[in-house]
Symmetry: C2
Subunit: 418 residues, 2 copies
């Protein structure tokens, strides 16, 4: 059940585009209990691509190839596949018909590059498309090859609707593989390494993975075995042990984003939230509204990038701005109170800071950020220092602010400030 992924395109080897297709395909295959042993990216180079295809045949039962199936000049995977697997290149009439229908629906004229997309290696089986770019599969020496378009949406659709189900039907039921994911915020790598060391000898055959994902740290736990109940029970025990060691630093057990965790908690506790953002510029609102159904608990926000808007809309006292500055504990608190009043929400969250690269001072260097939170009972604020460039400071500040809401709703203490 081992396979590999080959992605083709000069955009990958030249670093123009990150290879998110192999990432997606690998994730879907792994989640289905299939394992990916290698991912290879080559340019639009017939020799290199053919070499990758041939080499894959030596060790894999399935090969997923993405890219090079579109209508533009540099796409040539069909030709390469036909050559590498020593097959003729044939015009597929069903495919040509589909392309003609698509072209007609879009009201654009037929052209040779579009026609080219209907040519496939002999024996290939067409994969029904969404949009014009199609995929195809073929079997060579008992190895299943899938050729998918490089456009992420089309590739993902075919992967989920066709490739994964077919692969699962081809193989005998594999031994059960289960994975748990734990997401941490606020602990650095050495402290996490200590936690792992403390678990030594108590984790059986569980395989750990440690993945920094700025500003979070993710831990995976994988276990294989013949029996699902036993695998699940063993994994759950290890996950519980880790959670009891890290406490509220673990914000998600599973693939939830921080904003989803916050949204779920707000929903459970029937609380509403509004945000006043200065240095994060709208990122917190953006993250909260990435969650479907967030309108139930998210009232809205104000991006107060200017002092004037802090005073006019959030009713921050101009004296506060003058005396303490826009980046101060007092301003963060008044922003939190102001947005809560304006939006009539249960919680008012505020962030003000210096994202950089300019605007820092000795007293308040770039990366200095104040978080404020106003609830019915009280208004609190704390000062933090984040490192990195502008986007990193914004990202970390937004995560810290969301973490405040999570910890507040859970009754946990906020992370210590500076």
């Amino acid at each position: 059940m081992q396979g590999e992924i080959i992605t083709i395109g000069n955009e990958l080897t030249s670093g123009r585009t990150a290879d998110l297709n192999s990432w997606y395909a690998a994730g879907r295959l792994t989640a289905s209990g299939l394992s990916v042993i290698r991912i290879t990216s080559v340019g639009d180079d017939a020799k290199m691509a053919a070499d990758a295809l041939k080499r894959a045949s030596a060790s894999s039962r399935f090969v997923i190839v993405t890219g090079g199936l579109g209508s533009t000049e540099d796409d040539m995977t069909c030709r390469i596949a036909a050559e590498a697997l020593d097959r003729r290149l044939c015009l597929d009439h069903q495919m040509l018909r589909k392309i003609k229908e698509y072209v007609k629906a879009k009201g654009i004229p037929m052209s040779p590059p579009l026609e080219k997309m209907a040519f496939m290696p002999e024996g290939a089986k067409m994969i029904h498309p969404k949009g014009a770019a199609c995929g195809f599969s073929l079997v060579e020496k008992d190895i299943h090859f899938y050729f998918l378009p490089g456009v992420p949406d089309e590739m993902r659709y075919i992967m989920d609707a066709f490739v994964v189900p077919e692969l699962l039907s081809l193989y005998e039921r594999p031994p059960v593989t289960r994975q748990r994911l734990l997401k941490l915020y606020g602990l650095d790598e050495p402290r996490i390494a200590d936690i792992f060391a403390a678990l030594k000898g108590r984790t059986g055959d569980v395989v750990f993975g440690f993945y920094p994902k700025y500003p979070e740290n993710h831990i995976t736990m994988s276990l294989r075995g013949p029996d699902e109940t036993a695998v699940t029970a063993a994994l759950d025990k290890v996950a519980r042990d880790i959670i009891s060691l890290v406490g509220p630093y673990a914000f998600a057990a599973g693939d939830q984003e921080m904003e989803e965790v916050v949204g779920r908690l707000l929903g459970e506790k029937k609380k509403t939230l509004s945000v006043a953002e200065s240095c994060t510029g709208g990122l917190i609102g953006h993250r909260l509204t990435n969650v479907a159904g967030s309108s139930i608990y998210f009232q809205g926000g104000v991006v107060s990038y200017s002092n004037q808007s802090k005073a006019d809309i959030l009713h921050v006292n101009p004296k506060t701005l003058e005396t303490h500055g826009a980046v101060s504990a007092r301003t963060a608190e008044e922003m939190a109170r102001g947005i809560r009043d304006q939006m009539k929400s249960d919680l008012g969250l505020a962030v003000t800071g210096i994202a950089g690269p300019d605007g820092g001072s000795e007293e308040k260097p770039v990366g200095t950020v104040y978080i404020g939170l106003c609830s019915a009972g009280e208004t609190v604020s704390r000062r933090y220092r984040f490192w990195g460039r502008r986007k990193q400071v914004k990202l970390n500040a937004s995560t810290m602010a969301l973490d405040w809401v999570r910890r507040h709703l859970n009754g946990d203490p906020f992370l210590p400030g500076v």
Copy 2:
């Protein structure tokens, strides 16, 4: 001057993490005139990693390896490298000292996993680190191997400060390679293919690349030659030809984001902007404030996720909301006027729509978005329909809204609505 990149980690083959390290390394190498012919990702598997290292030796002059140098359980690149290249594993005292210093500065105790990081293949040259995770290089049969940590920041630092300069010093000056990038918004793939077809025979040896990057389309033009002036002139001519064919659909010639282009134009025309966001939830503000110095032209915004906030803060007439609905041309216009008044900016931009997956109707399906823009002269709005999931609708709506500001400032017509 051909080389390759090998990235090691179960997080890559399992799809837990996208391989942004190879993307970065490939981009830096390509920009330096070096070419990457293959990128291979394998799991934390000694056999597969050794195989990739050996295979790289056959066709490459340099090999960049990332991952597996940290202090956590699953890191083992040093051992694999030593085995694959048949070298002893030795304790590096300088490295050990650095780790001890780091540990002391952070106030954490020394541990065996941290100590493990000081072991390197015999003959390896240490690469001075930023943080605890270091890299090293070694030369085997005239091939230069670089082993870098997998943490993106550390890897990027070593790549830029050490690897690229050394590689450039090793090789003779390559023939000049220059690349141009053109970013388009609002044209679909077949129409772009037509534009390329129209250029047939007029583009010489220029190599084109076409990269959809939702919701934009990016075109690269590359040309190699012995003489920089000639290469640059030829590329510029082709770029000009394409721009004259696509007109205002081309929003950037170079690696600028849409928000940078908008920011530059606002700065040039000395105009200020504020935004009223409903379905984009803060994304437009976030994008605008990703640009350093945006506080000069960006006044701020309101995320009005509730009807109440549309009325209270943006002063949208409650009757408008009742009669036309929150997602309507009239509401978009009143939001644009409201935010402009509130923020006292030259331009007021508004977006209201249905991001989905719920909230759609027959008359206004998911993906229906109204953009409104209020300037001193007038207030205009238009209805659009975007496709895809929630995040895609938000992204496309934010790009369309920013594109409105760009086109307004350039005196170009807005993209046609539905």
